[in-house]
Symmetry: C2
Subunit: 200 residues, 2 copies
């Protein structure tokens, strides 16, 4: 049988995507799946589908951080409620596409989400994105310049539109072929699916 | 230490509440917790909080049944997409309060959710609620008459208002003291919490 690919649509603005990013590589390893990190812009997904961020419902927003804290404790990963929230993740996502050209897609995605959700750094700012790039041995000025090029912007738009066309409405979204799994809390079902125990 | 109580706020109209109802007793047994089955009216919770049912977002609604089917397979429980959906669960919930007076709260809640989500029966209808009561050895005419009494109606309203006041915005909602756990997909965190591995 051919090796299945998990397409992981991520937006650093999404806390549940950060949580999932700390678990997905181990899951892929356990199940023998390939992993494709695909940045997409969650705000545009919400616009296109009429979905909303959890904090749009005040009672849900009030509960959000307690829930995130529990997951972070459960996973044993750092969590900080960022001062800047929600954050504009556009530059970080474009930079993720550029990092991928240097084979650093996973490393960059994990690092930029950890910078924001693990350390509370304002990743809407070029200097924070530059610091993440630097930590991975990428040249910040080159990366930032390339992130502003129309072809990179267009690729982020295309990823987003593709995800919506295939049925995504939130983040994280995982696709295995046309089977969609939505949410950090669906990693258990994604794993069962990859083990052949669930239909699509 | 005193025995903790899981207050399980359930509405038979909610598919994720049905799924959770098939798992919660085993969880309570594993963790040594008491379980209190508390019917509440999810529609009123949505009204009070501004939250919406998943199917209110078309792309989410389209994905809903695939997700439910996966959970049902994972848990090994029956699932049928009911022809009548969403359903008016008011009578079923009031009947749940009456069944509780005969010590049948858990049995009735599980049976009425299984009738709807496991077998697709239209539990908005008195004859279906009567059939559930009958199967538990309760007298249907007595139960239905009592379910229409103002004091029973008032208790359902009070449960609903209490849940909202304590921070609930969806179903299933589980409280252990003031700690809220929302969703079938949070049973894993509820269990961790009851084992003393998570803060509130």
């Amino acid at each position: 049988m051919s090796v299945p690919t998990i397409e992981f649509f991520w937006d650093a603005a999404s806390p549940y995507t950060y949580l999932a990013s700390t678990q997905i590589e181990a899951l892929a390893e356990r199940t023998g799946a390939r992993l494709a990190w695909r940045p997409f812009l969650l705000g545009k997904v919400f616009e296109a589908t009429g979905n909303r961020m959890p904090a749009a419902v005040p009672a849900k927003g009030k509960h959000l951080f307690a829930d995130l804290r529990r997951w972070a404790t459960h996973y044993g990963v750092p969590l900080t409620m960022p001062r800047v929230f929600p954050v504009n993740s556009l530059l970080a996502l474009r930079a993720g596409l550029v990092a991928a050209e240097a084979g650093q897609d996973a490393a960059f995605a994990k690092a930029v989400m950890r910078a924001y959700w693990g350390e509370g750094r304002d990743i809407s700012q070029a200097e924070e994105v530059a610091a993440v790039a630097q930590s991975l041995g990428l040249d910040p000025p080159t990366l930032l310049a390339r992130a502003g090029e129309p072809s990179v912007k267009e690729r982020l738009r295309a990823n987003t539109e593709e995800a919506v066309r295939r049925g995504a409405f939130g983040a994280p979204s995982f696709f295995v072929g046309e089977a969609l799994f939505w949410g950090n809390d669906r990693l258990v079902l994604l794993e069962e699916f990859l083990r052949g125990r669930l239909a699509a």
